[in-house]
């Protein structure tokens, strides 16, 4: 059993588990699934600085911050006890493309050759980690949700603004991955 769990989970197992988070949170206490709002709650709790957008009772949303604590614990559990001993299996075309940028280490789910504190001082690392992170935070709030809030909770509730947001996420991602990122990777 444990050997099966250690294998990478197929989409038709993981997808429904993620989908079931929606009714689980609703039935446990009228909570609407989403994660990016926690970035705002952290601002509201730590650095509200009289900005009206951060002046609300963030304690009402403490459940969501604890949900994220759970995600961190769950990820650690999976990494420590349920780790797949083999490296990730990828499309050979991607492996070939990444080799051209010097990315050859597939040991970790987060490529250590890109994401390291030392790389923050390189142009490529700074763009990917700091600029990338910044627009994830800015963009999700501007859009009013992320993949969880819009693409899963919003679409589950058949909200058409969430469909527009999801299409925008995908368009942005396609442009970055196929046009801009190849340039950044060669820096």
């Amino acid at each position: 059993m444990l050997e099966i769990i250690k294998q990478p989970w197929p989409w038709y197992i993981a997808g429904p588990i993620i989908g079931l988070t929606v009714p689980a949170l609703l039935i446990l206490g009228n909570k609407h699934f989403g994660i990016s709002a926690n970035l705002r709650h952290i601002c509201a709790a730590c650095i509200p600085a009289k900005v009206p957008f951060f002046k609300y009772n963030w304690r009402k949303e403490a459940w969501n911050m604890l949900f994220v604590v759970g995600i961190i614990i769950g990820a650690a559990v999976a990494a420590v006890w349920l780790q797949n001993p083999a490296s990730i299996e990828l499309n050979p075309k991607l492996v070939k493309e990444l080799a051209g940028y010097g990315i050859t280490d597939y040991e970790s789910l987060v490529p250590a050759q890109l994401f390291s504190l030392g790389n923050l001082l390189t142009i490529r690392g700074f763009l990917i980690m700091i600029v990338g992170g910044f627009i994830v935070g800015f963009g999700t709030r501007y859009a009013g949700g992320c993949t969880s809030g819009h693409s899963i909770m919003g679409l589950s509730n058949l909200q058409w603004p969430s469909l527009i947001a999801t299409i925008s996420f995908m368009v942005g991602g396609f442009i970055m991955a196929n046009i801009i990122l190849p340039l950044i990777m060669t820096l």
């Binding site: 949900f67 990820a75 709030r141």
Partner: protein
Amino acid sequence: MENSTIVNTAFDTDHEVRAQDTICINESHLTHKWYHNIKYILVGILFGIAFVKAEIISWFRIQEMFRLQSFHMFGVIGSAVIVGAVSVWLIKRYNVKTIYGEHIEFHPKKFNKGQIYGGLLFGLGWAMTGACPGPLFAQLGTGATAVIAVILSAIAGTWIYGYFREKLPH
């Protein structure tokens, strides 16, 4: 129960501020002791394990998705939406209550241009960092400590958005 719910929402301005620019929100009108929130940690743990085991938090999987080189991520998101949508439909159809007996509330979301501008920006960032906000926290959990820099930057991005919110087109 139903009446008290209506009375409570009518003048709840804190709810209005919390509901700005977000889907994920606590719609409950009940207040509980802190330990009632522990159950959300447990849901998060299951969710976090699925994130890692299905390699959703992998930068490589996100690159594959945006290059249309693998069906995996589309399958994950697609099947999650189908299961979520059927669940929400069932909750509405059979008026399923919370475990505290409260009516489960849904509010329609209004369209604004931010969903396009912000959505495009987030999409760009998603393909760069290979992670949306949920996976960022999960990556940290797997021991990728450098991701702290990405998370802090995302918090800074959120703060700057909040600061300039009124000046941005919506």
